[in-house]
Amino acid sequence: MIPATPELLKTADGRPLREALVAAQARSKRKAFLLVLPLLVFVLLTFLIPIGYMLKRSVEHDGFSKSSPTLTAWFHANPEFDHMNPPEGAFAALVTDLAQMQADKNTGMAGTRINYTVPGSISLFKKGAREAGDMQPPFKEAMLKLDPAWGDPALWYGMESAASKWTTDFYQVAADRKLTATGWERGDDKQRIYLYLFFKTFLVSGIITLICMVLAFPVAHLLAVLPMSKSSLLMILVLLPFWTSLLVRTTAWIALLQEQGIVNDALVALGVVSNENRLSMMYNMTGTIVAMTHVLLPFMILPLYSVMRVIPPSYARAARSLGATSWTTFRRIYLPQTLPGIAAGSLLVFILAVGYYITPALVGGAEGQLISNLISFHMNKSNWSLAAALAAMLLAAILLLYWIYDRLVGIDRLKLG
């Protein structure tokens, strides 16, 4: 006998069970998503779009293209011109634009745009614009007579690139590359300010992470092994700095570490250093490192503590009973079990340190500045596109670290206190 086709399972109202289940799941999915939606929209409008806007600014600058329509058109018509020796037509277009700039009083805008890639262009453009109105052909000869810098192939590369509103020039500058007679090239090692500062920021963050790790480990361990009643009292000592205003803590370090500060006063009183040779621990890299370590230490202690608290002490006891020394027990049994906490804390501290702004700005002096401070500096100088390019590079680094953190630790495991 052929068995009858199995009857479909149905719900009470006669719909197939599978269909009803899928519909119910879709409904609850939608419900869950609707709860998150308002916040997503809010974050999109106030956080993601501004950051997207910043990224756009890093590749957009119309300072030159807007004020030089004739030259822009010429560049479009002659994509293959010789940068070493631009023809008369290019100079004619340039003179037309310069004369117009002088009339519109926006020479500075164009000059500033070119100045990012070819230093010294602002004054060159101002001088050129002043004379352009009275110039007679041949323009090439006249311009080169005015200033031989107008024949610089790097300048022509710079102007050709700036003729478009969209540009990667700011990333080239932020990567310390220089415009030369043959186009973009790796800059002189001595002038690699931006990459050097990125490197310095990462190095300092690494040092701070390491110091935090060394300081946090014993404290987290003590908190983890003490009975709860005692450890929650000591925990307050960790959480109070966490809750105290960053500016208060930075102020406190200024009071402690400055030349006439408490630490130096104490050292002089104890006779460790003489009054003339007070240590300079503030307004330099030392100040930045000490103050940032203090600020970030709780971010290392807390994840480490939450991992250490659940490590069963019986493993260590078993190791001891099997003849391991206390050092071996620590190294082979205890330490490996704390690794998740170390990874979580270190990544968090490192990520936060890389983007630090306030503490270096207040206690770092000239030497202790990090990449954030440079971004702020360029913002204040109205070098918006360059600031945006630097910020975008920092953002890329942070997102990479964030991704690693998510992979290794998981964002869900992020805990506060």
């Binding site: 609850s28 999915k29 869950a32 998503f33 709860l35 998150v36 308002p38 916040l39 997503l40 809010f42 974050v43 106030t46 956080f47 779009i49 501004p50 950051i51 997207g52 806007y53 910043m54 404290v219 003590l222 092994v225 709860m228 929650s232 000592l237 109070l240 809750w243 105290t244 205003s245 960053l246 500016l247 208060v248 102020t251 406190a252 370090w253 200024i254 009071a255 006439q260 500060g261 408490i262 006063d265 203090h294 990520i351 890389v354 983007g355 702004y357 306030i358 207040l362 954030s372 971004i375 913002m379 600031a387 910020a391 920092l394 942070i398 964002i411 992020l414 805990k415 506060l416 206190g417």
Partner: protein, 323 residues
């Protein structure tokens, strides 16, 4: 932590050395904060202890820097301190204005972050939530992305995010925006920026509370005839409230301590305490900063105590006994 009985002499020495090391680290953590308090009573305009202070001479101490907080920006600081004088303090004193701004901005940012954050956390902790990991990563990112990047992006965007005075929406949103009708230089801009920065804290604390939440309680409430609203307010809310409140406190503290976004997007009308302190530290560093710092330390002690009490209450409610 007791030493095991089998500890060797070397281990004993190490054990005590370890305790000393821990003590030193705790001193490193806490001493700088506590030192601020006595320093703020300095009678001299120094940032360090004077000899008179060290010998506990009452003349070495004074309240003059606290007085400065009231008189800075006061149009007639030396007139008798009657009710009119105090009214002027309330209306004109620089630090009092900064405190008022900080408080209002913090309050609204907290309300915004808490309401939106708690709702989202409720959705995120449902098992059916699609793209949970990605959405969580986006919502927590304001805490991870360096504040300078956020500030730069906002300063570009908020200067463009304008409602022209002649638009139909102007009467609706105009009063909250700057004179030009933009988010930049407006209270709303600062509030919104601070709310975004506070959201990760609300999300993290509330999802943490919800992770220990017994979902069958909701089904029980439903089966007993409660509608979703009653279930939420009578069953869910009381249980997650400690998490919500500590998230809200985190959000408030974040706003109350935030300076970089304010420096980039706020105008002269949005002077807040951190901004005033930041400028004070950068320009002329006076012990008045220490007086403010002391007040802030007291505030943070109070907040910490609140959060601790809430945490204990939450653990008790959820049946987690401290071990």
């Amino acid at each position: 932590m007791a030493l095991p009985t089998y500890a060797s002499p070397l281990e004993r020495i190490w054990h005590y050395a370890y305790l000393v090391i821990c003590t030193l680290i705790f001193i490193f953590l806490i001493a700088p904060i506590l030192l601020v308090v006595p320093l703020s009573f300095n009678a001299e305009p120094y940032f360090s202890f004077t000899e008179k202070m060290l010998s506990f001479d009452p003349q070495g101490y004074s309240l003059r820097w606290y007085d400065t907080l009231l008189t800075l920006g006061h149009p007639s600081p030396d007139t008798p301190r009657d009710s009119a004088w105090w009214a002027l303090v309330w209306e004109r004193a620089t630090w009092v204005q900064a405190a008022k701004n900080s408080f209002w901005v913090g309050l609204w940012a907290t309300v915004l972050a808490t309401v939106l954050g708690t709702t989202a956390a409720l959705g995120l902790s449902r098992r059916e939530m699609p793209y949970r990991g990605l959405i969580m990563a986006i919502l927590v990112s304001p805490m991870i992305v360096p504040i300078i990047i956020i500030a730069v992006g906002m300063s570009f965007f908020y200067a463009q995010a304008c409602v022209p005075p002649d638009s139909v929406f102007a009467p609706l949103v105009g009063p909250f925006l700057s004179e030009k009708g933009c988010l930049a230089n407006s209270h709303l801009g600062v509030i919104v920026a601070h709310a975004v920065l506070g959201i990760p804290f609300v999300i993290i604390t509330v999802t943490a509370t919800l992770s220990g939440f017994d979902q069958s309680l909701i089904r029980a409430a439903h089966s007993l005839g409660a509608n979703p609203r009653t279930t939420f307010f009578k069953v869910v809310m009381p249980l997650i409230l400690p998490g919500v409140i500590s998230g809200a406190l985190f959000a408030f503290v974040t706003s109350f301590d935030e300076v970089v976004a304010v420096l980039f997007i706020a105008g002269p009308d949005q002077q807040t305490i951190p901004r005033q302190m930041f400028n004070g530290i950068r320009e002329a560093i006076s012990p008045a900063i220490l007086a403010v710092a002391t007040i802030l330390v007291i505030v943070s002690v109070a907040l910490l105590a609140t959060v601790e009490l809430l945490r204990r209450r939450s653990e008790r409610l959820r049946g987690i006994t401290p071990h």
